[in-house]
Symmetry: C2
Subunit: 170 residues, 2 copies
């Protein structure tokens, strides 16, 4: 299967990764959260080629994750800013940071720590159940068929691809 067909799958992970699952996109988004906004700043910060960057930024604008905002009308200069859709990726970045700090660091500890302004403390965001507030453990979660599949079956859609429920146990 070609990568471009991956977003046809009935799977939110596949569809999300079709947008930002390539090698540079999530790093561009990381930079956007660090308030990098201009083409040349992204380029300096990432070391990505201008060509790739140009392409990735326009894709992110297309998908509504970044928006171009004029900051110098005379020279037609734009900056790229996160939209709501983009800001919503924060938990994704945060969970990657958490994992990276734990499993992919060099022994010196976290390069960056995060202070939660609401409570004033350094924080290590964690994922909890929104019903009982207990921390999530893969072994305690059971995936079940959801409406996104049930409705398709009810309509008689053939070819529901990329769908298979299983337990989350390893």
């Amino acid at each position: 299967m070609r990568w471009e067909e991956i977003d046809g799958q009935v799977c939110s992970i596949a569809r999300a990764l079709a947008i930002f699952g390539d090698r540079w996109t999530l790093l561009i988004i990381r930079d956007a959260f660090r308030r990098v906004r201009r083409f040349s700043d992204f380029q300096k910060s990432l070391g990505i080629t201008r060509h790739r960057l140009s392409d990735r930024l326009s894709r992110l604008v297309e998908y509504g994750i970044l928006e171009k905002r004029l900051y110098d009308a005379k020279r037609a200069r734009y900056e790229y800013r996160l939209t709501e859709k983009g800001l919503d990726l924060y938990p994704v970045l945060m969970s990657v940071v958490n994992w990276g700090d734990k499993w992919a660091c060099d022994g010196d500890g976290s390069p960056v720590v995060f202070r939660h302004l609401a409570c004033g403390q350094p924080t290590h965001p964690k994922m909890v159940c929104d019903v009982c507030d207990e921390p999530i453990d893969a072994r305690e979660i059971r995936p079940e068929v959801g409406p996104g599949v049930l409705k398709k079956i009810a309509r008689g859609d053939d070819e529901i691809k990329g769908y298979e429920t299983g337990n989350s146990q390893a």
Copy 2:
């Protein structure tokens, strides 16, 4: 910069993405959480070419995210299972699912819903501060220089790459 050099950055996101930030790896891990374990099952489920799959699986074993476990000694057949390091990626997958359900779905709703066995309810895992338990919002988090950078400065390491703190505001 070449992609392989990205993991030299002093950034947990860059180092994590150096491991699973390519087009197929996270989907392979997703399948592993769905209890897919054998080569041919990964291949059928993903539609990835055997060649790619073979390569990605060995990388994941190298990185300690999957382990090969013998299940048929006579024919030297192995299955691939998540290690602790791999199981720890659950929050990453979960936050991608959450985002995908909200922003990349086709109108039919979530293809998969998750039941939290501990409380018995369908759950939408959320990210909260581990100090005050309030939900995390990008605008309420301020990144600060952490030990992973301070120690390098103290040692006088030159070339601390890919490091720049900024606010998380967009």
